[in-house]
Symmetry: C2
Subunit: 489 residues, 2 copies
């Protein structure tokens, strides 16, 4: 087991990670609201916590990773239509929120697959856990920390704050909040403007609603994460992740809900990734710099000079520490693209390097450095810097200026394999850019083996590879700049 340290937002310090149950980790991360296409703001937390998930598993833990889908949306029917008209419409003629949810969930999954973000162990939907959320409302009502008002139920923040510290995660104080709260919809029903809804009565045009003893309505947004994390990870669990934008009020409210419903603190480590900017600006639809992942991958936005592959985006995100802000620009993305290519090229070069009788480089030191970087609050930029030290070695070895023994060479290969592919979750060039088929990468591998065999004058093997490929209808063409292939059908 590693001695991983994580920056805990709650304690505002790096802490050694110690799981609640030996060898197992419960990880909960706030997933997307599926009412629109995934954009850069989705790619960062998904990638950050994917790396945490991968690194925990690499370190020997069995991880249950829960990432939710927020599908209880606030979709309303056409404002022109009265309640009666809606009721009279055929079901098929009505907007169906679940159809929109399905479309964007499918698109989100596609984007995550492109970014090589592993699927979570469980991906629960808010709409699939209404009963659990209603139970939590009841628990909080029974404990006396919520009140019903006009069919809605609100959490009593003021009362909570008398015994517990509301604001302890975000460092906000209730009195400061009070002075800055504006009058918003539903405020008249509340005792205090900072009280938040656990259950909302649905207005007639509101399309998603379920029966309850309080009203036909829907759960407040903060509730789903408290209810679903408790169900799948337990009332107390190890790590809760999410973007920093969720810190307040979302995560603050989660803490309060879980504290009252379960009678204890739910989360041991709160981990937040920082935000992204685009050319130094906040991303926003009104600012014209709102770029979806599809647009990035296809180069289909006026701010983009070119398209950027999913692996370039992933590498770019990991080149910054997750707690730093990250600024997207064409220059920065092009630099990331170059860096990634250099790294992957070195990996390929490494495969062809021959062992020597002695080593001129300390491989073990590099391994130690990589591990230390990851254990230091997932410091992926430092890890990548260390990997680039390895790249320099590889290039020197390829011109026989440095040497490694067979054992050390093996160590270096394993190290690169582990950190580039398994921990950072990058894909080799051929995999990441072509479709999800393995054929091109496999053929390329065979061609490089054949090239090597020729270099070693092992012509029997070179011919064997060519002939067997030819039997499959794969024709090799040798040219001046290497071999190409073609599939005949």
């Amino acid at each position: 087991m590693s001695t991983l340290s994580l920056f805990n937002t709650l304690s505002r310090s790096k802490q050694v990670f110690t799981p609640l149950n030996p060898d197992r980790v419960g990880l909960y991360v706030c997933g997307p609201t599926v009412y629109g296409d995934a954009h850069l703001g989705h790619a960062r937390p998904a990638t950050t916590f994917d790396v945490l998930f991968r690194y925990l598993e690499e370190s020997g833990y069995k991880v249950r990773y829960v990432r939710n889908i927020t599908d209880v949306g606030h979709l309303e029917s056409d404002a022109d239509e009265g309640e009666d008209k809606i009721a009279k419409k055929a079901v098929l003629d009505q907007v169906e929120p679940m159809e929109i949810v399905q479309r964007y969930t499918d698109r989100y999954h596609k984007n995550m697959d492109q970014l090589n973000v592993r699927k979570p162990s469980i991906e629960p939907r808010a709409s699939g856990h209404i009963i659990e959320q209603q139970n939590m409302v009841r628990q909080i009502l029974e404990a006396g920390y919520a009140y019903e008002s006009n069919g809605s139920v609100y959490f009593d923040v003021d009362k909570y704050n008398q015994s517990f510290a509301y604001g302890k995660l975000s460092g906000r104080k209730l009195e400061d909040l009070l002075s800055t709260t504006r009058e918003l919809e539903g405020q008249k029903e509340k005792k205090n403007p900072f009280d938040f809804a656990l259950w909302k009565k649905a207005s007639p045009e509101h399309l998603m609603h379920w029966p309850s003893e309080w009203s036909e309505g829907f759960p407040g947004w903060h509730l789903e994460c408290s209810a679903m994390s408790a169900k799948y990870l337990g009332e107390e669990f190890d790590i809760h992740g999410g973007g920093m934008d969720l810190l307040f009020p979302h995560h603050e409210c989660e803490i309060a809900q879980s504290q009252i419903a379960n009678g204890r603190e739910a989360v041991k480590y709160w981990v937040h990734n920082n935000m992204i900017t685009i050319n130094g600006q906040k991303m926003g639809k009104s600012l014209g710099n709102f770029i979806t992942l599809d647009q990035l991958f296809e180069g289909d936005h006026e701010l983009l000079d070119q398209s950027y592959s999913p692996m370039t985006i992933r590498f770019f995100i990991l080149q910054a520490h997750y707690r730093s802000t990250l600024d997207f620009s064409n220059d920065a993305l092009k630099a990331a693209e170059k860096g990634l290519n250099k790294l992957l090229k070195a990996w390929e070069t490494l495969q062809g390097i021959k062992a020597s009788s002695h080593s001129t480089i300390q491989v073990d030191d590099l391994e130690q450095s990589c591990e230390s970087a990851m254990n230091d609050d997932l410091n992926t930029p430092i890890l990548i810097a260390h990997l680039f030290e390895g790249v320099i070695w590889i290039n020197l070895m390829s011109t026989e200026k440095e040497f490694l023994t067979e054992k050390d060479l093996e160590t270096l290969k394993n190290l690169f394999d582990k950190y580039i592919f398994r921990v950072l979750g990058l894909l080799s060039e051929s995999e990441g850019n072509l479709s999800d088929t393995h054929t091109p990468a496999l053929i390329d591998l065979l061609l490089s083996l054949r090239q090597e065999a020729k270099k070693n004058k092992d012509f029997a093997m070179a011919d064997q590879i060519r002939n067997q490929l030819s039997d499959m209808g794969i024709v090799i063409k040798d040219g001046k700049e290497g071999s190409t292939w073609e599939i005949n059908q």
Copy 2:
């Protein structure tokens, strides 16, 4: 709009399809139970109703296609453990049904993507609609057609049969059923052995359960489809599809439930695909002929001579009419592979054919024939036969023995494009067909090269092969009897 006819299982006749709402179609199909890998038995209904979905849209309808995920399973905790022990276990140490559900749902989606089965408009989960199912139990109880017994609720089939015809879909008679019903679990709670559960009280070791006024329990299997189809398509909707194995009791029970809860017949057209056999036998785990889709695609089963690409499987399924039984054998699959290649090759040849000043072939007749085939209860084998008439023409045109004007050539191209790709949902060679067929052979070649390298003590090369495969997600496992491989997803 087309004049599509569909064979309605309910009327036992082909009927002209007329939607309930102009221009819109509501389509519900029973999806998978996600407690295991998808196999041939999943590929057939998925492909059949995908073609119906596509053809309806091609014909100008706006279709809402709902295909459910049955995830309310009967997973129980380890039989050795008493209720107390389970309660004391940390949540993370317990088997979590949703983790299993997630794994197999993800794998099912991957397989469906491989088969180029389009995603449905909505894919609701049974576990996400407990409230809707409980409401339906209440409606049926209130109507007097169900009774509570020991915390469970059963549908009163005998009473139903007095006013409605239980068995009208499957053509079974209640008195016949009575004589053949065996004594099964829960029978003592029932008035009659053919009564079916709407709500089941959960035994202590049962892992999925929700609170209700009857018991902590779970909905009966038949209920989810009635509740979810009503929610998303309306109490009355156009088409309900599924495999013939679901006709009785599942669909029969759906009819009864919906009739009582909604006070009317829910489904206008019942459409059932026939079953598959393997070398003439029923498929079954005990018979050793149970082949998953992954095994088919990878050629990884002792009954398989080779791997078959997803498009070969899809084409093979569509070469038979959906209401015929379909027998899988290596010979039949190889024939399908050849036929598909011939068709796709002709499509490529067609792109290079030059227009002439006159036409020697009646393209409009072919178009008419294709449409008639599809309108005749989705007769895909006849459609494919017509497409092969086109293949003959194309080959004659390529040697300048037949000719088409520019306009007719355009018509032929549009026709091929529509039926091959959009209606039958096949993918062109480069998109879907060739890659996966080569993957297993390529990996096998690499493994044999690695074996040879090891024999020659060239361990660097052996490791190189293993590592590079591993980067592609292809894991080699060395065993006593040689190496095997597995593709991680």
